[in-house]
């Protein structure tokens, strides 16, 4: 029988403690890590198995480049819209007199931030399609014809429908930050002779800035990865990264696996960086919300 010292027994127990964690780790490895790792490998592998950068070079081709351009534009614009309008709406919600109204609007944000994908796209067709409720009302009462300049199936339609799920998300994100802006600070600032503008420039905006930065990053990633809304509205007609990936994926025969891998990796990179900095910004912001 081998004799174990106390220290060895302790080490052994420590290792044994990890055993129950293994099934979970293996599951994540098999379903998440390995597929992404092989995607990374595939993105650098040529048809003969050699190392190559040709798949990334392909991304300069018009269809891939314009997909990235459109996706970044769509995500950027809707993130900016969501953050700016969401911050103002969140501010006004925080200053509602009635607690009940505050709770109701917050609950509405909670619920609507879950409405997305196909049903949301369809709801926008009902409202702003060529025979949509609002389209008809605008023609009849204001004599404004939305079509053909506007179309729910085009870039402007995508902006409107994406903003729908971006906005409540921002409101939910900014409300705790605004609640952290203490009334006493404003009173103290005014007491010391600061103007409203000075108060916002020197106190309000700096305190809110981590939440605003976090909002921009989260909303950007949120829109960049979206698929179902855009697919329902435009099918594959409008070049976006996720739609382009989906197009490569459809059909039993893979159209261009290497390009798909490269596009997937670039998407992960963009999303990963956004989410990473989002979390750093959230941590920054916590300091003020204590």
């Amino acid at each position: 029988m081998e004799v174990l010292s106390n220290k060895q027994i302790k080490n052994r127990r420590r290792l044994l403690d990890w055993l129950p964690v293994l099934p979970f780790l293996i599951f994540c490895l098999a379903i998440m890590i390995l597929p992404l790792f092989f995607m990374l490998r595939g993105s650098f592998t040529g048809s003969e198995g050699q190392f190559t950068l040709e798949h990334y070079a392909k991304m300069k081709a018009s269809i891939y480049a314009s997909s990235f351009k459109n996706s970044i534009l769509l995500s950027g614009i809707t993130a900016l819209l969501g953050v700016s309008i969401g911050t103002i709406v969140g501010y006004f919600i925080c200053h509602l007199k009635s607690e009940r109204a505050k709770e109701l609007v917050t609950a509405l944000c909670d619920v609507t931030s879950n409405f997305s994908g196909a049903p949301l796209a369809f709801a926008f067709i009902v409202v702003l399609g060529s025979n949509g409720v609002l389209t008809l009302a605008l023609t009849k009462y204001l004599n404004v014809d939305l079509y053909p300049e506007f179309s729910i199936y085009s870039f402007s339609g995508l902006i409107l429908s994406y903003t729908y799920f971006q906005l409540p998300l921002m409101v939910l994100l900014i409300i705790p930050a605004i609640a952290g802006l203490k009334k006493e600070w404003e009173e103290a600032a005014h007491g010391l002779g600061a103007s409203t503008f000075q108060y916002w420039r020197l106190i309000g905006i700096p305190v809110l800035s981590p939440a605003i930065t976090a909002g921009l990053l989260l909303l950007f990633a949120n829109a960049f990865g979206a698929y179902a809304t855009a697919y329902t509205l435009t099918e594959f007609r409008y070049p976006l990264v996720t739609l382009q990936l989906g197009f490569l994926l459809t059909g039993e025969v893979f159209r261009d696996p290497g390009a798909g891998d490269a596009m997937g990796i670039l998407t992960l990179l963009l999303m990963g960086i956004s989410i990473l900095f989002y979390q750093l910004a959230v941590k920054q912001g916590r300091k003020w919300q204590q």
Binding site: D17, V126, G264
Partner: protein, 287 residues
């Protein structure tokens, strides 16, 4: 008072506009689904339940509804089985693994459904491993995809109750590890599991992207059928959308309610079950 300022019409304008923008699509879709005809006039020409009748009579309705229910329930159960015991054990015995788990459970936020599908198909769709296009693989992908929704509320619940003391007390009375988990820990972290489970359920019931790529027409789901009808028949699509919306908002309201209940149960502990970040991140994984 010096700080009381005149408010003007701005707050009303912004909140009013916001409510209009958020509510109009929902209200219009509900109204559209019970309108006889609503593409020529401002208000519906008449009311009817025919579109629901047509939707329900279609043989696909029951199939896709059942498929989506099966997928959602399987994912919730698989997710609880994989995540809850691991999270408990790590919090009890392997604190050094905690940051690793936290990191792993955050990763899915950065992985869009279409990229996850691409990875799985590239790795598991070739012979001899023809696993990628099966409902079982879809459930596995869903467990990964929704992992933050289950992991975060469960971990917050674990932090809110002192599991170490509870476990030691149970064990000093002779309870085994599994029995302790089942009879002592589980009831204490129930609010977290219920919140997480509902979130996972609602997300998967509306999930379109991964399902289309992994199983496609072989295992049609409710959102796939909805997308199909948006191109074929707007009336039936409206009935489907209303059902989808209803499931989403009922789940959200129950989650809010459970969170309030959980907060009451553990008040004073300094941790709330409903995590602000989570609430923010749940946004949309059905997009």
């Amino acid at each position: 008072m010096a700080t009381m300022k005149k408010k003007g019409p701005l707050p009303g304008l912004f909140i009013g506009g916001f409510l209009f923008y958020m509510l109009l699509p929902i209200v219009a879709t509900y109204a559209f689904s019970i309108a006889t005809r609503w593409d020529r006039t401002i208000l519906p020409e008449g009311l009817t339940l025919d579109w629901y009748k047509v939707a329900f009579m279609d043989r696909w309705f029951l199939i896709v509804f059942k498929n989506s229910l099966v997928l959602s329930f399987s994912t919730v159960i698989a997710s609880i089985l994989i995540i809850v015991p691991t999270a408990y054990w790590v919090h009890l015995r392997v604190p050094r693994a905690r940051p690793i788990l936290d990191l792993i459970s955050t990763l899915p936020f950065a992985i869009p459904g279409v990229v996850l599908s691409l990875g799985l198909i590239r790795l598991y769709a070739q012979p001899p491993l023809m696993l990628a296009r099966t409902p079982a693989m879809l459930v596995a992908a869903y467990v990964i995809f929704t992992m933050p929704f289950m992991y975060r509320p469960v971990v917050n619940s674990l932090k809110a109750v002192n599991i170490k003391v509870l476990t030691e007390a149970a064990q000093s009375l002779g309870s085994s590890w599994l029995r302790t988990l089942r009879q002592v820990i589980l009831p204490n972290i129930m609010p977290g599991i219920i919140s997480g489970g509902l979130l996972v359920f609602a997300t998967i019931f509306g999930e379109f992207t991964i399902a289309t790529f992994l199983v496609g027409a072989r295992y049609k789901t409710f959102p796939m059928q909805l997308v199909y009808y948006t191109r074929r028949d707007g009336r039936i699509a409206s009935a489907y959308s209303v059902i989808s919306f209803t499931i989403a908002w009922v789940s959200s309201l129950i989650i809010l309610w459970v969170a309030a209940w959980g907060a009451k149960r553990t008040s004073g502990s300094g941790h709330s079950i409903k995590d602000k970040d989570l609430q923010i991140n749940i946004a949309g994984d059905q997009k």
